[in-house]
Amino acid sequence: MSAVPILKVENLYKTFTLPKGGSYTALENISFEVADGEIVAVVGPSGAGKTTVLRCLAGLLAPTSGSVVFEGESITETPEDVAAVFQDYSRSLLPWLSARSNVMLPLRSRGLSRTEARQKADTALASVGLEGREGTHPWQLSGGMQQRVALARALACNPRLLLMDEPFASLDAQTRMDLEDLVLHIHKEFATTVLIVTHDIDEAIYLANHVVVLSKPPATVSQIVEINLPPNRHQIATKENPAFAQLRNHVLTMVRRDPYED
């Protein structure tokens, strides 16, 4: 993996004006880098602004100041090579379209022919384990399967950067583990750079090469923790590793730290 940063966030500030007057600073001077081919997790206490960061990275929200540089260019809208998976799968997939049609939609919007789009969609759905279910509608599928469709939709676009906003938060623990391993598999197979926002510390450490820890709002980067665990992660073996527990304790302590204490 090269050390060229595919994503560079520099001095990101985001302030919201409140409807009744006054302002709320969600993000204060956020800076970090994501190298090509890495998996980076962003964690922080609830309400820290993790989703706000992700929306700025996705080009869905304009920062108040600072820059988000993707592949060397400052972004103003969602870049071509970026795709995302959101937490609420039932409200981000279109229920009146089949899984295949859902996955095809962004491809068709990019100008692919129906045949091409269909082929890519079927391949993407197979790579997330949904072969044979291309014709089903999202509401006919379980939560885990719906999120796989959302993942296939993102993957079919061949993104260089995959953004994930608490993608497994709405799923049960075992499904979560299966999907975490799916992300690792996809990362290995397609060499996609992944940035995952999560409140689940275990998940962050399990998946990532680096963990960006945000503080309470106004959120700054408390620390960027390097995860030195062996690369072939395994739900049981990796979590048995004493280094895992140490890293977990370290990150958890930071996330739970009261900023007014020290």
Partner: protein, 260 residues
């Protein structure tokens, strides 16, 4: 495991209310012995006479043909204009009072104005029906398209789904339930206005027959007209339910039990 709705619920229950109403009417008419409430057999015989094949051609067809032209015209124009208005915030805000005004105007009051403006022919009636349907549906189209799920919109924005694809595959189906509700309300309104439009200057029509029977004290025929109108309304509503099923099924809104 799917639970099949029992035979009793599917076929017997819907008939209970009409049976109760009929029974209630029989008792009431017998108790009142009033000219205004003739006995069921007399209503039935008037019904058979008024709505004989000849009667249907003479009076039912003109009214229904007006509805069959006026309703789709109102519906389609409302959807088209609604799409336009929903897109432009300024237009939406500006049009709200006008739409509210026309919605509040009772159709009975509008009929004479339309007749003066456009003459007494069937075209005028179709126009009156169309405008009533138009405003009813318009309000729902604008509302439906203005209150789309932001999470869905966020995904569509991210994956750059724009233009006609966005309109037909994301926005309109997203507003589908609301638009269908408006279209259904518009249908009932259309039937009502179909009758009302025949209040003045009309010789042939369902409303004309009913109203003329009323003013000549031929109450069995009047009731025959009202019952016929009710049957039309129920029938059209039933057809509407059938027509909207494919959309509801595809959108997963017909689920009574979930798969997983």
């Amino acid at each position: 495991m799917r639970r099949h709705t029992s035979w009793a619920i599917r076929f017997v229950a819907p008939l209970l209310m009409p049976v109760v109403l009929l029974g209630g009417y029989v008792l009431f008419a017998h108790w009142q012995s009033n000219l205004y409430f003739p006995s069921l057999p007399r209503i039935y015989s008037a019904f058979k006479t008024t709505w004989s094949p000849h009667g249907l051609r003479l009076n039912a067809w003109p009214s229904l043909s007006n509805l069959l032209l006026g309703y789709p015209a109102g519906l389609l124009s409302a959807v088209l204009l609604g799409i336009l208005v929903a897109r432009l915030r300024a237009l939406r805000v500006a049009s709200e009072p006008i739409i509210a005004f026309f919605l509040a105007l009772p159709s009975v009051a509008i009929v004479p104005i339309f007749i003066v403006l456009f003459g007494p022919g069937p075209g005028t009636k179709q126009l009156i029906i169309a405008q009533a349907v138009f405003f009813q549906v318009l309000v729902n189209v604008i509302d439906g398209l203005s209150t789309l799920d932001p999470t869905l919109a966020q995904s569509a924005d991210l994956f750059k789904i724009h233009g006609f694809r966005r309109l037909f595959l994301v926005d309109l189906p997203g507003a589908g339930s609301q638009i269908l509700a408006g279209a259904r309300a518009g249908l009932s309104l259309g039937v009502l206005v179909m009758i009302v439009s025949e209040l003045f200057n009309t010789r042939f029509g369902i409303g004309a027959v009913t109203l003329s029977a009323q003013s000549s004290f031929d109450f069995p025929t009047m009731w025959a007209g009202m019952v016929f109108t009710a049957i039309i309304g129920i029938g059209l509503n039933g057809l509407f339910s059938l027509a909207e099923r494919p959309y509801l099924r595809r959108a997963g809104l017909l689920q009574t039990t979930t798969g997983a």
